[in-house]
Amino acid sequence: MTATTTPYAGLTTPSTARRLLTAPTTGPLAALLIACVFFSFSTDQFLTGGNFSLIVQQVMVVGTLAIGQTLIILTAGIDLSCGAVMAFGSIMMARMAAEGSLPPLLAIGLGLLVCAGFGLLNGVLTEKIPLPPFIVTLGMLNVAFALTHIYSKEQTVTELPGPLTALGGTFPLGHTDITYGSLVTIALFLLFAYALSGTGWGRHVYALGNSVEAARLNGVRTSRLTIGVYTVAGLLYGVAALLLVSRTGVGDPQAGQTDNLDSITAVVIGGTSLFGGRGSVLGTFIGVLIVGVFRNGLQLMGVASIYQTLITGVLVILAVTVDQISRKKAR
């Protein structure tokens, strides 16, 4: 055995081209581009700045939920309660500001806090009892849904003070009007893309999703990390609540009922594995856009909305199939 031997040989650095081809976001990105090209040729209205601004506006609420959902799914969890928590947060903010005569900013702050509280509770129940996240968040979905209807007395809250709808305001970029809310969503995507890939916290989230025990044995405080992830996700649902209110201009107790599944759809289409440990918020961003582009493009082509749902369903199954196959290859 000399110093020059290379035991465990057979490893080579994959070329940049190969790495790009096999990167998990490549597939979703290609799908997005193909869809965009297809719709550009199919309808004149698709390829305009105004339409793209509209797509981003349409997806910003689900997109923000999907960031939280991505974090949770990366830890091999799942959150069915995100849409309901958001609905409760939005109705709280709206009612407290409009009728409870609280200062609007305080109402927003309390709404954010309550949403984070729901996340914290999800995390604690998942981690400390412990219970499967599917069950905990299914329960929390019903709790938050019921609370929304009890608290709102089934009434839509209108005539909201300015700060609650401020994010719905626009500024011109060239000839296109962009909402501030879209910027918030994009900023959050960037922030969490960085947190996941650039910080130790992010690495620990991935490690946790790979194997809780391996993470623990390497000194990761897994329990605290899990609870933290659910809490941060809750806070993001609070931001989504504010975006929702600002976009619709009302507090609507019926809002967000399919958003939990829509957010999971976006995460999965974006290439994040439901088994945890692999994926990215960049992928989720692409996934959110894919869903938005399909909805928008098909709508512009005059296709009935039920077909949009059909196609989304097919995309999800396709994405999960790709994930399964690539995971098998990796083994």
Binding site: M1, A3, T5, T6, P7, Y8, A9, G10, L11, T12, T13, P14, G198, T199, G200, W201, R203, H204, Y206, A207, G209, N210, S211, E213, A214, A215, R216, L217, N218, G219, V220, R221, G277, R278, A330, R331
Partner: protein, 278 residues
Amino acid sequence: MTTADSPTPVLQARGLVKRYGQVTAIDGADFDLLPGEVLAVIGDNGAGKTSLIKALTGAIVPDAGEIRLNGEPIRFTGPQSARAHGIETVHQDLAVAASMDIASNMFLGRELRRPGVLGSVFRMLDKKRMRQEAAEHMADLKIGLRSLTQAVETLSGGQRQAVAVARSVAWARSVVVMDEPTAALGVKESGQVLDLIRRVRDRGLPVVLISHNMPHVFEIADRIHVHRLGRRAAVIKPSEYSMAEVVAIMTGALTVDGSGGTVVADSEAAKAAGVQAT
């Protein structure tokens, strides 16, 4: 075992107990690791070797018993507290994150941050330095993994084991514990791990090696801790016993008395194992 003039054990345990419901995985086990030695821990499947070293490395908290590090009583509250004391472990299941690359696994739980505000405020990882240092550690240990940016799941079982071994050796400051580090390895690779263990010992670090491979154990161990039914059955020197005798101690056919002599506990079994009491 220990006489007045023998050195203070680096890691020592007395009367460790760990129960899992009805199963008693550790049943009053003692343990002594002396400075600079390679101590092999052997025993049948389910004897409790893994449980013992998990208790010694903070991975589980024992129900009873005492652990001493360099003579001082110590309680490990978790793996990180053992790591903080320089104890590194190669776990039987390797404890690697499969989808993460080799360098990330080497620095898992001990990531380096960029200097200045980037690190303190923005918590930015110093990926370049981690990759460099990981490469240096691998080179130091003469482990020739050529690309550190490859996901661990793309490695062979043996290569994964090499990563786990390298990680432990790179960070250990007082003790290295390896739970069957050669289990997935071929002849050549096993030889390399044994070589690595020797180099670690030459650096002055004691090594605990759990193995089912008797020739390996006899080749490298300074002393052999024989574990049986959740506790230490004997500690012997490989120079003073034959492999057959050690196997007989492991299975309970022979027992070792206080003075180090063997006593036939079960003459039928001893005869079957092909040994005679000394």
